[in-house]
Symmetry: C2
Subunit: 227 residues, 2 copies
């Protein structure tokens, strides 16, 4: 379902060029559950942004469900980002002046759902992450882990077939993390594809395959036999 | 050095009142190393904000080095926040349009240090967290873990005697976390007081004392005998 060929991503900074992804070759099939690990700064979020069609590689090819992403027009990309891919950002990226509920409703507005369906589904998603009693709080009236869970609910609400989760339990206590990993398992069980960035070995152990990045290149890519 | 008596913190939201801290009694002596744990939403960051003189309790008393914090004037509070207390925020709170270096220099400007000393100390602090080659990047040109390390460097640069760290390794891989915990140990060894919020048991094990919060009250407060 995902095929990356020689993906390179450079950033220009001042006079110099920073080579962040140095030629990534990667194939991920439908319904795989992949953990992406690696040191801080190794390029995990950058890779996730490319996978999520939020960033364009400097060179190389990205085939998503057989289609060359660089050849898609804006409308097709918007459709993919809204319906096929759910993204949980490392820094949440919530709208600061909207409530938790309105933040989770937003993707449903883009998807053209009716008001009744939107409120129902968003409320449901927030209940699933344990935030039923925080729906009308704005982000600055929520704890760090509660904001993270709003970001999770928002990513799930359009039932995407590919879920990209960048450190989804980074701000959660053990008990809440277990609940969230349970949610992800259910999504995986329904046939969807999950790619999770984590620096915690316990969380990575939930995945069937582990990919380790170092300095912008894949250092290791193996099946998780302890699962 | 820190004494909290019946600290209550309520938030008003719409028609209702949310009772976030429900009467905290706490005493922390000089040079203690305390881990503060508890479920998401239990009140850890709210408690840290009160300890850091960034928030005022609804009722109760906070004695810092024997002085009643509620009786201090603005200049005295600013002095405490700038010289005595270092705060690593759960959401980093970096200035988005300043470089990493300028973010770390900021507390030194408030402290009235000369330009030469400021640049030297800030550079040093960034080297200590492994960001020597990222000093001129702005936050949106840094990875999540790199931003976290800028926040750490900024908190240390005025050599505070009390360090409040809210999830300081939440976005860091294991190897980088070990380096940061090593830094904190050195600060502790020099006689300073450390309070660290963490949801990771491995990180909490570095502390000598563990305080567990639940629903805004202290559920458990014990010495870490495994250390
Ligand atoms: N301004 C506010 N208005 C209303 N409620 C608030 C406000 N700020 C925080 N809260 C509530 O206070 C509670 C405690 O928040 P706090 O940030 O202290 O939790 P925490 O223990 O740090 O959680 P986490 O581990 O998720 O970071 C949460 O339930 C949150 O929704
Ligand atoms: N806009 C940019 N300009 C220059 N360099 C950048 C930019 N964005 C990211 N970088 C650099 O790219 C590298 C990879 O960043 P990325 O966010 O992908 O890392 P990461 O693996 O997700 O790290 P972490 O675990 O800390 O979140 C970092 O060294 C970062 O400094
Ligand atoms: Mg990242
Ligand atoms: Mg918190």
């Amino acid at each position: 379902v995902i095929e990356l060929q020689q993906i390179i991503r450079n950033f220009r900074l001042g006079e110099g060029v920073i080579k962040v992804l140095k030629g990534i070759d990667l194939q991920i099939n439908r319904n795989e559950y992949v953990a992406l690990m690696g040191p801080s700064g190794s390029g995990k979020s950058t890779l996730m942004n490319i996978l999520g069609c939020l960033d364009t590689p400097t060179s190389g090819q990205y085939l998503l469900n057989g289609r060359d992403v660089s050849k898609l027009i804006d409308d097709e990309l918007a459709e993919i980002r809204n319906h096929e891919i759910g993204f949980i950002f490392q820094t949440f990226n919530l709208l600061p002046r909207s409530t938790a509920l309105d933040n989770v409703i937003l993707p449903l507005i883009y998807a053209g759902e009716s008001r009744k369906v939107r409120t129902e589904r968003a409320t449901n998603a927030l209940e699933q992450v344990g935030l039923a009693d925080r729906m009308h709080h704005r982000p600055n009236e929520l704890s760090g882990g509660q904001r993270q869970r709003v970001a999770i609910a928002r990513a799930l609400v359009n039932k995407p077939s590919i879920l990209l989760a960048d450190e989804p339990t980074g701000n959660l206590d053990t008990a809440t993390s277990i609940e969230i990993m349970g949610l992800l398992h259910e999504i995986h069980r329904q046939g969807n594809t999950i790619i999770i960035v984590t620096h915690e070995e316990d969380i990575a152990q939930h995945a069937h395959r582990i990919i380790r990045l170092r300095d912008g290149a894949i250092e290791n890519d193996y099946q998780n036999t302890d699962i």
